[in-house]
């Protein structure tokens, strides 16, 4: 009843092609942004910032990166964490070694470094496909982490290989409180999400999708395969790289190469699968789901066991948590293989008709 585009006429191509052609969507997104930028910093506590909101945004960005590669360009990758590692270490090195380098420039350079390495590891995709490629991206995962461990130069000769980053400072303002860091991450993530949304609606995005759906056919209709695939790798790695830099600078504060393990890559992959492969919104929904589910289980299971007087000891709760997590992933794939984003879409369609059945 409220969500209906009746009476909204488009009189120009620009109006027809905008990101949110429906007025209610525009209002919705405006409200969301106001909440995120104004209301949340006012009301949320430090736990929410440090343990939920900041990692949520950072992982959304990484998932966005992977979604561009896997969801739009169809190249399955199991090495996203390694590209985050490159971003984190590159940003650290630019920051420490170049006197007076503005931190945002360091972030961008970190992204570009990751993109460069991404292109390198994307080259095999021109020949290898499917699961073979997926396993091949594991080469990137292990090799990059090994390099970061082995070259002491990259961690500024720290004896343990761990880097500990200083607080972010932009134009003399120190981002040392959780809300400040949150706003910084939020701004960057919003801008990059907007860029991603526009990218996938453009010629580039269409070329990616054509390659994803059938690369031979895409080539036949005149899409340059090499260019398109490598661009996808570059853009995706750039996003992961920036996410990695934020992960180090705005979330953990100190990272070691082993932290960017295969598990982390899987976690990001889970995010896009649960959220929705080939959907910008899905990256955010998936990140929220994968991040919040373990926390939710962690809190609710002991409570539940207390309620039912079941004898759960610490280890059992952790085991059940793992099982529920695995079961939910399978459940999701069975019930809604297109992820949360698809559910959202279905919801919107239903809402258009509501209160009528058809």
């Amino acid at each position: 009843m409220f969500y209906r585009e009746t009476g909204q006429f488009k009189t120009s191509y620009a109006a027809d092609q905008q990101i949110f052609p429906i007025r209610q969507d525009r209002i919705g997104i405006a409200i969301l942004l106001v909440v995120a930028f104004v209301v949340v910093p006012l009301v949320a506590g430090s736990y929410w910032f440090n343990a939920i909101l900041i990692p949520f945004l950072i992982f959304s960005l990484a998932a966005l990166g992977l979604n561009i590669l896997t969801g739009y360009a169809g190249q399955l990758s199991l090495g996203s964490a390694a590209f985050m590692a490159i971003g984190a270490y590159a940003a650290y090195n630019f920051h420490v070694r170049v006197e007076g380098m503005p931190i945002l420039v360091s972030f961008i350079l970190a992204g570009l470094t990751a993109a460069g390495v991404g292109i390198l590891f994307g080259l095999p995709s021109l020949r290898i496909k499917g699961f073979y490629l997926a396993v091949a991206t594991l080469a990137a995962q292990f090799f990059i982490v090994w390099c970061l461990t082995k070259f002491p130069y990259l961690s500024n000769n720290s004896s343990s290989g761990v880097i500990s980053v200083p607080d972010v400072e932009i134009l003399g303002y120190k981002f040392d409180t959780p809300p400040a860091r949150y706003l910084l991450v939020l701004t960057l993530v919003s801008l990059m999400a907007l860029a991603a949304k526009n990218m996938v609606r453009s010629t580039t995005g269409r070329a990616w999708m054509a390659v994803r759906d059938m690369d031979v056919a895409a080539e036949v209709i005149g899409i340059r395969l090499m260019h398109t695939k490598l661009l996808a790798f570059a853009v995706s790695s750039f996003y992961c790289g920036v996410a990695g830099a934020l992960y180090a600078f705005c979330y953990l504060g100190s990272v070691e190469p082993d932290g960017f393990s295969l598990d982390l890559s899987f976690k990001i992959l889970f995010m896009i699968i649960v959220g929705g492969v080939g959907s910008i919104l899905g990256s955010f929904l998936g990140a929220a789901f994968i991040l919040l589910l373990p926390i939710f289980l962690d809190i609710s299971l002991p409570w539940l066991s207390g309620l039912l007087h079941l004898p759960f000891e610490g280890a059992t709760v952790s085991h059940i948590q793992l099982m529920v997590f695995g079961a939910l992933i399978m459940f999701f794939l069975i019930v809604e293989p297109h992820g949360l984003a698809r559910l959202w879409q279905i919801g919107k369609e239903k809402l258009r008709l509501w209160p009528f059945p058809h």
């Binding site: 430090s46 007087h309 610490g314």
Partner: protein, 442 residues
Amino acid sequence: MINKLKKLVIASSIAAALLASTAPSAQAAEEQFFMLPSYRVGPYGANGQSFYGGFIDYLSYVNMKGGIDGVQNTWEECETEYNTAKGVECYERMKSKAQKAPGPIHTMSTGISYALVDKTAADKLPLAMMGYGLTSAVDGSVFPWAFPLVTTYQMQASAIIKFLKDKNGGNLTGKKIVFLYHDSAYGKEPILALEAESKLNKFTLVQIPVAHPGNEQGAQWQRIRQEQPDYVIMWGWGVMNMTAIKTAQKMGFPREKMIGSWWAGSEEDVIPAGDAAKGYMSATWNVSGKAVPLIADIEKTVYGAGKGNLKDTSKLGTILYNRGVSAAVLSVEAIRAAQAKYGKGKAMNGEQVRWGLENLNLTEARLKQLGATGLLPEVKTSCSNHEGSGKVKLQQWDGAKWVPLTDWIEGNKALIHPLFQADAAKYAKEKGITPRDCSKEK
């Protein structure tokens, strides 16, 4: 099946007893809250199980004996799976609860402690890293809130060298020692110390890294066989330890010449290796067994009342269990020290517990009072020395239990501590921290 049912019944009665027992203590006026970012699943779950079991059992034990001068211990666990990001989440989740009266935080993970060093300092919560973590925090002037108590990787490596030197009539000249290490922050920490020792004692040091997780070490041991070293010092963790021991057997390398770090010297590491582990040595900063009166008393008091944390009581008295108890002893003693200064019978806040940790003086006499003679070395901390001891024992596995070989051995402090200070100074510079003046602390 019947067995299972039985277990279920027993377990549920334990849980009921636990519920009943914790309920009244929740209303007690003064409480000290221990946040436990623990791990009981994942690749190192078995190790965490014993350590945190011992830790919690000692806290219950103290509670049953009337608390810390009337102050009851409370605690909450949060599963980290040894994963840094999860550990940070756990910390953030529990820190508001700990704000009022925190116990020292034990993560049992180098990665998590690294990530928490700055956060705990900002939140004014004391962080303990007993035998792991950021070792340069020995220099308390730069790290007021972090305590690598008892001993560090570097001091331990130095103590092992000292042990070998004594064994060889005080001279290691011309000997060859292989350092086999887990290729991570943990394994890399002692390298600087060992290099310094090799220069000083004129032995050849060969470094061989093992990639995580270390479940395949054929090539590494073939290289060791080729090098023909006099000793192998091993910095392993989890599956890497038993694989190393088994592979040493496979290559015919005598286990009597292998010395592990203290994370490579628990029952969890040697029992799965079976007979292969016989003769293998390791360092440790606590002894195993129930011969220590405190451990026997915990079993009697806590498990006798059905309030034990571990379902599998065979773990009692193992190295890691006793280590958990030792860690808890030190934490509780720090709180006692703080109470002595700031008021007995009161819950201590973060600043006060920090003071307690920095002015800890656990003497032989006090250990005897606690029934913990010989369980751990004497510990005396200060602002400039957050380590407080630097001593370890060497022990040998005889196929059934760990047998202590030596008394407490102290590493070469004059050689090692300046390394910490240099590292701490570098850290302070990178982070823009102005170190405290330790001479002004009292």
